[in-house]
């Protein structure tokens, strides 16, 4: 039997294959989600942080992902009674979520730190502050990265 496929049939097959690709096996995302959720859960002990009090200062668009200036500050009187103890910074698009953890005490006077970080791709940066009373506050900032910063 001669197998002949005309143009119309060919199109149907093509469409079917495309649909399979979309619905069938899960397509690997361009960037697999990293371990940011686990890192946050480990830091907060499963508690959900409240949005606010934390300020993340990063450029909207970073031309060079190798060195992106980042300032994180937390609103707090920084007294013995009420102060920030730790601030965790993670990203959701780097190969590994962790960026840094800053440790403050009333001797710090103010909960503020600045450093330069690497961003592999456009992604969200999340900062979570832990207060001495056990509460957690967070801030999220999205940064667009023109050139990724993980070498390769």
């Amino acid at each position: 039997m001669k197998l002949s496929i005309n143009r119309r049939q060919m199109l149907t097959i093509g469409a079917g294959a495309a649909a399979l690709g979309m619905l069938g096996l899960p397509v690997t995302p361009a960037y697999a989600k990293n371990d940011s959720d686990e890192a946050i859960a480990k830091f907060t002990g499963g508690k959900a942080p409240t949005a606010g009090r934390v300020k993340l200062d990063l450029p909207e668009i970073a031309e060079n992902g190798n060195t992106v200036p980042m300032t994180v500050s937390v609103e707090s009187p920084m007294t013995e009674q009420s102060h920030v103890t730790d601030v965790l910074v993670v990203t959701d698009g780097n190969p590994r979520a962790g960026v840094a953890t800053f440790h403050f005490s009333p001797a710090s006077g103010v909960a503020e730190a600045n450093t330069r970080i690497r961003l592999a791709t456009s992604q969200n940066i999340i900062a979570i502050a832990k207060m001495n009373d056990g509460s957690f506050y967070s801030a999220t900032k999205a940064v667009k990265v023109t050139i990724g910063g993980c070498g390769g």
Binding site: R96, A100, G109, R116, R118, C150, G151
Partner: protein, 108 residues
């Protein structure tokens, strides 16, 4: 090779309770452990993973660094001037070696 960090305090003489800003920069490759060399082997991780600052022996600020910190790490923070004494900044490498820098502050 001893690496000398660059440290700058915004004031050397402070009144008690003043906020003193510290800026510090240290030369370090901060190899992330994610990069591959020309023959496809992963370059082993080598970063400064811990930073601490003590004033007159008391810790005022510290940080844990992950590979996402840029090469030649820069850190800027503040502390509350309480007493005169040495301001010692210490970075700890993955291999256990330490980079230490020192400044001093006079509190009146």
């Amino acid at each position: 090779m001893a690496i000398k960090p660059r440290i700058k305090l915004d004031k050397k003489d402070a009144k008690k309770g003043d906020l003193v800003e510290v800026k510090a920069l240290v030369s370090h490759i901060m190899e992330s452990g994610q990069r591959k060399d020309s023959s496809g082997n992963v370059v082993p991780r080598k970063i400064l993973n811990k930073f601490t600052c003590t004033v007159n022996g008391k810790e005022v600020f510290s940080a844990d660094f992950e590979p996402a910190i840029s090469a030649n790490p820069y850190i800027q923070f503040k502390f509350k001037a309480q007493e005169s004494g040495p301001v010692v900044l210490t970075w700890t490498d993955d291999d256990g070696s330490k980079i230490v820098g020192e400044e001093s502050i006079t509190v009146s």
